[in-house]
């Protein structure tokens, strides 16, 4: 066919075209390639998705400056052309008529939602003046930053240059933090994201609360499917009959909150039967005698009484793991902040992984391969005048000082201790939907001198802001490149604009640099275009922005298994002892249990159910409910209740109920789903619904918010994570009295 252009020709041609285009100060046009409908009709831009945070490879079909379709990028090393429902629906975020369109200054009372539109110059001048004012009066540390995702990276630089150490994102203390800390305590390194679970090569998958399939990260689901097709066995531990459970060889409907007891019993069986990986443990681990003595009493019979899983099932599954080792992929989970003992649960999972010899082995957990990237040379950041206000590193010794403790900043704002926090800058985070204890957050916001929201959509929190800045969506902007080392083949991929920002929205890099200029911090933005910034990062890898831009990503050879490792990869187990620490000297030194111990969690009072929550494959957190296409697939969530429990309450499928928690907090009315697929002692709902922002015209008041029912938390003393599965609800029919 004559219209067909070879890829090489195309690449060569576009790089020639690029040389002239990148000379100007404006961001260069990204390299396009023809869509299948023909180059004359559609130009395809390779970029990274941001409908969630997995950063899958996307090709955006652009026609006359408009993104007409998204699809997976076959050249992307991780996702290889596959894209989930949300990724496919990304155009409906870009063209959502409810988007934040222009900078706005609050004119009404906080929360009232009355604003006046202003220009970017006015907005940034106002913000710079207020920030300088706060710095003068209270110190730079009085400004707290709440980022999420990769877009705020330039703003994070700005905040550090400004002089505040106070930055916190829910990814740590409301999500993956306990897992990262628990595995780092055991193996010397955390897992990162995407987590390096070797599903492709595994013989046995173990999911503890993970609901892969309902929780969709494209490449992980692809690998999960590959494993199942290859005949890998599957153990699912979940109080709910999840989609993954429906495919499992063993479904263990565990009593919520007792996972550590199950894990201890598994260790007991592996050690008592001598079926653990003796060579691996002898070579790489320390602390075996302590562990053996510790778990001796934690027999399957002991665990049966706690977990309500028959002892025989516990033995059977432990033996299945021993038989498949080391190719056992015990998934470390993602959202891990459940009961406040979460670091210890992650430790228990890590110890089972170690006993099976799965860490660094084919079919288990593979090892990351460092990429020798560069960076833009920046001046050193000023040392903050005071330590962090959130307790990360002090009150909670093993909390990440990079990711911080969100609720620590809320507490400091409320109490003015250890010093007053006067301003919040919320960037891509949704503090009212991702942080528990909503009333506290609202109270804290009421005390602020300055609240700023930088976002794409008018979430409820925007109503409380003094200044709202409309950010460009991921399809309209450059972001810092994704440097992904925790993949079997490590890679770098880019996010680049497929079209011009709509309305008066601006990309994050532009907002940060322009505000930086006004604050006299331009030295921290020593690049003219984001492309130059990208170049400075990837140049040491021997690639240039223009090359990567055409394909969207470049992959390198990985060294995922122990036998592949080279000296430049550093120590295998960068712990204090250089070995896998089955018993943790670090925890002992800090006064915590060096080995995980089961401690009972509080049971629901009579008439109440434990509130569990999770994800849907067609929505991302509280971000996507206003998306027209995703809304059509799933307009609201439902509350799952066990069939027998529903009968007792005279509830039927399709009834609407209000959930009321132990402290009287009530939800919006929500549909009942009656099912045999959940235990009697808990109910379940998908997180992210029940929006209270009128400006989200589709999502407003659809379904119920689980977050609004989290008045209680259980704080992990090791790293400050907030366990959120400690709330209980009762159900009453909507419209009936309490």
């Amino acid at each position: 066919m004559s219209a067909k252009i070879s890829r090489r020709d195309w690449l060569r041609r576009s790089s020639i075209a690029g040389a002239a285009a990148s000379a100007g100060a404006a961001a260069a046009e990204p390299v396009g390639r023809p869509g299948w409908q023909g180059a004359d009709r559609v130009r395809q831009i390779a970029t990274n998705c941001e409908m969630c945070f997995w950063r899958c490879g996307v090709l955006a079909d652009v026609r006359d400056g408009k993104v007409v379709k998204l699809q997976g990028n076959p050249d992307h090393p991780l996702t290889q052309g596959r894209l989930c429902a949300r990724g496919n629906a990304g155009t409906q975020l870009l063209y959502d008529p409810d988007r934040l369109k222009r900078p706005m200054l609050r004119t009404g009372a906080r929360g009232e939602g009355k604003f006046q539109e202003i220009s970017w110059d006015q907005a940034l001048d106002f913000l710079a003046a207020r920030l300088n004012d706060l710095k003068r009066k209270y110190g730079a540390e009085s400004v707290a930053f709440f980022p999420h995702g990769v877009a705020p990276a330039f703003f994070s630089t700005l905040m550090k240059a400004f002089g505040t150490p106070n930055s916190a994102e829910p990814a740590f203390s409301q999500c993956r933090g306990p897992r990262e800390v628990g595995y780092a305590l055991t193996f010397g390194r955390g897992l990162g994201s995407p987590e390096p679970v070797d599903l492709e090569e595994t013989k046995l998958i173990v999911l503890i609360g993970s609901h892969i399939g309902e929780n969709v990260f494209t490449s992980q689901v692809t690998a999960f499917g590959t494993a199942l097709e290859r005949g890998a066995k599957l153990i699912v531990v979940d109080p709910r009959f999840s989609v993954a459970a429906s495919k499992a060889d063993w479904w263990l409907p565990i009593r919520p909150g007792t996972d550590i007891a199950l894990l201890l019993a598994w260790m007991n069986v592996l050690l008592a039967e001598g079926s653990y990986d003796k060579e691996y443990i002898a070579q790489y681990a320390q602390g075996l005698p302590e562990l053996t003595a510790h778990v001796r009493e934690f027999t399957p019979e002991w665990a049966e009484g706690i977990t309500e899983i028959p002892a025989a099932r516990i033995r059977e599954t432990a033996r299945a793991m021993a038989a498949a080792r080391p190719a056992v992929a015990l998934h470390p989970g993602r959202h891990a902040t459940w009961y406040g003992d979460d670091t210890q649960r992650a430790r228990a999972m890590a110890i089972v992984t170690a006993l099976l010899g799965s860490w660094g082995r084919k079919g288990g957990i593979f090892l990351p391969t460092a990429l020798n990237t560069g960076h833009t040379a920046l001046p050193p950041f000023p040392k903050p005048a005071r330590e962090r206000a959130d307790g990360a590193g002090t009150l909670y010794p093993l909390a990440s000082e990079e990711q911080g403790l969100t609720l620590g900043l809320v507490r400091a704002t409320l109490t003015a201790k250890p010093y007053p926090i006067k301003s919040w800058i919320v960037y891509g985070q949704n503090v009212l939907e991702s942080l528990p204890q909503r009333q506290q957050t609202l109270k804290a916001m009421a005390r602020l001198d300055l609240m700023v929201v930088v976002d794409v959509l008018p979430m409820e929190q925007a109503n409380y802001a003094d200044l709202v800045l409309p950010e460009a969506t991921y399809l309209e902007r450059y972001d810092p490149p994704a440097v992904v080392e925790s993949a079997r083949r490590p890679f770098v991929s880019v996010r680049q604009p497929a079209c011009e920002p709509l309305y008066d929205s601006r990309p994050g890099w532009w907002i940060a640099r322009e505000l930086g200029r006004r604050l006299g911090l331009e030295a921290w933005f020593p690049w003219q275009t984001p492309e130059q910034h990208l170049d400075s990062i990837i140049r040491p890898l021997g690639i240039r922005a223009r090359q990567i831009g055409a394909r969207g990503a470049v992959a390198f050879d990985g060294r995922p298994y122990i036998e592949d490792r080279k000296p430049e990869d550093g120590p295998l187990f960068p712990t204090g002892s250089g070995k896998i620490e089955l018993a943790s000297p670090m925890l002992k030194q800090l006064g915590f249990d060096p080995l995980p111990r089961y401690r009972p969690v509080e049971d629901p009072p009579a008439g109440y159910f434990r509130l569990l929550y999770g994800r849907s494959p067609v929505h991302s957190f509280a971000r996507s409910e206003n998306n027209a296409w995703l809304d059509a697939l799933m307009p609201e969530n439902q509350v799952w209740i066990n069939r027998d429990a529903a009968r007792d309450l005279r509830l039927e499928e399709g009834d609407r109920v209000v959930l009321e928690n132990q402290d009287g907090a009530a939800s919006l009315p929500v549909l009942v789903r009656v099912t045999p697929g959940i235990r009697r002692d808990c109910v379940y709902m998908v997180h992210g619904f029940g929006h209270r922002s009128r400006a989200l015209r589709r999502a407003y008041r659809r379904g119920a918010s689980d977050t609004a029912l989290m008045t209680r938390i259980a704080v992990d003393p090791i790293m400050g994570g907030t366990g959120m599965r400690v709330n209980f609800v009762r159900l009453r029919k909507a419209g009936e009295g309490a």
């Binding site: 299948w36 989930c84 496919n88 199942l228 009959f241 989609v243 494959p617 697929g677």
Partner: protein
């Protein structure tokens, strides 16, 4: 000649609806409508011995498609490769085929006022691309190919691994979408979404003697009218065309 078919591995499918969205996006299917969608059967049984399964519903491109028989204008027809397609120029949106389809795979697209459904992404196939749903499927659970090709995935899954058609004694139009997976799950999925016997309004005498000639006559008249308009336009000269 190729014989196209699709196999859905229900053990791999997680019901994430990526197929639905990719299809809607590729073919501009209005929100709330779908050419392919995932539904769920179950869970059934007594706790904790439960079974549940996703089920993927779409046009089955039947060997003997009832929709083709039902179509009064010839808009719906079957290609030599077994793909059932709709010629939009001929579709009058009467909806007889929607009634006839045993799999409820057809719908009246309210934007174009024509019947819409899966056509195995014929336009993509011509460019050697997989159907959009297959290309995007996160679990890689959807397979597409030629049943005449013994090297294809679908050949292997259908003839060697026993992927099954969704048929019943009352409705057996010879579907070319097959389902594989664990037996209990496939049993449940197929039992939960059985084909319904085709409702052929076109079998009655009234249809054959009156409606069909009438509709065909109307279609013929429309064509005649358009041809007349075309030649009139042609006379006016090229510059006069609006488009």
């Amino acid at each position: 000649m190729a014989r196209y078919a699709m196999v859905i591995d229900l053990h791999k499918c997680v019901g994430c609806q990526a197929c639905t969205m990719a299809c809607n996006s590729e073919w501009e299917v209005p929100a709330g409508y779908a050419r392919t969608r995932v539904r769920f059967a179950g869970p059934e049984g007594a706790f904790p011995n439960l079974v549940a399964s996703p089920y993927v519903a779409q046009c089955n491109h039947c060997d003997n498609p009832p929709c083709v028989k039902a179509c009064p204008t010839g808009a719906t027809y079957q290609t030599d490769e077994g793909i059932v397609v709709i010629d939009r120029a001929l579709c009058i949106g009467c909806g007889f085929c929607v009634e006839a389809c045993p799999y409820s795979a057809r719908f009246l697209n309210p934007v174009i006022n024509k019947v819409d459904k899966c056509d195995f992404c014929s336009a993509r196939l011509e460019k050697d691309l997989q159907p959009a749903c297959v290309a995007t499927c996160t679990a890689h659970a959807k397979f597409f190919g030629d049943l005449e090709d013994s090297g294809s995935d679908v050949f292997r899954l259908v003839y060697e691994q026993g992927a099954r058609r969704n048929e019943s004694p009352a409705a057996h139009p010879g579907p070319n979408v097959y389902y594989s997976g664990k037996k209990a799950n496939v049993d449940l999925a197929l039992a939960a979404f059985p084909p319904r016997p085709p409702r052929l309004l076109t079998q009655g005498r009234f249809w054959k003697g009156f409606v069909k000639p009438l509709v065909l006559g109307m279609v013929g008249a429309t064509f005649l009218g358009q041809a007349v308009a075309f030649f009139q336009q042609l006379k006016k000269g090229e510059g006069q065309f609006d488009d």
